[in-house]
Amino acid sequence: MSFAPGTRVRVADRWPEAEGPAHIRTPHYVRGRIGTVVAPLGAFPNPEDIAFARPAPAKALYHVEFSPRDLWADAGGDAIVIEIYEHWLEAA
């Protein structure tokens, strides 16, 4: 799966850290939220595996932009951009 810039994507509403040992680079505050792909950033070995010294297949990484007011009613900024791996994203 690859996402072109401008694609609307939903971040998976998954919480592996609540189930057991996990190392997650997707901030909690965008889980289950919709954003827009800004740019692909290449592919990197999955840190969720590296952190546990497991074989780490490369995952595509995207810059995804969110509207802060979709995340918090009192948000003050205009945009939040986050690096998110492909396995956390689905087309919205």
Partner: protein
């Protein structure tokens, strides 16, 4: 200074499923001032930082293992410890887990130093 017991409370608008290091937008810190003044690093800080880099360069541990080890520090200690105090704990735990060091060796050396 926040007391450990107060810092454990989940406040309204917080998500109990998040891990304590995952701090973006978390209510408990929203009224806390940012200390903008420079803080000089100590010799301890520099040595921990450099040792971490050497362990990476020698293939003994990765940055992601460092982060995982930091995240595994319980919340009370995480908030009480300084940045590099967290690092040396994570580094030690990782080296123990990977068998580079043993608990007996570390405990013995700590006893020698005490």
């Amino acid at each position: 200074m926040t007391t450990p017991s107060a810092s454990q409370a989940i406040e309204p608008g917080d998500d109990p499923r998040r891990s304590h290091h995952d701090m973006g937008g978390v209510p408990q810190f929203l009224c806390e001032a940012v200390e903008t003044e420079p803080h000089a690093l100590t010799e301890f800080d520099r040595e921990v930082d450099a040792l971490r880099q050497m362990l990476s360069l020698k293939g003994l541990m990765t940055v992601d293992e460092l982060r995982r080890g930091i995240e595994e520090i319980p919340q009370d200690a995480y908030l009480r410890l300084s940045y590099y105090q967290r690092w040396i704990r994570s580094m030690t735990a990782t080296l123990l887990r990977k068998g580079v060091l043993t608990e007996a060796e570390v405990a013995g050396r700590l006893g020698d130093l005490a």
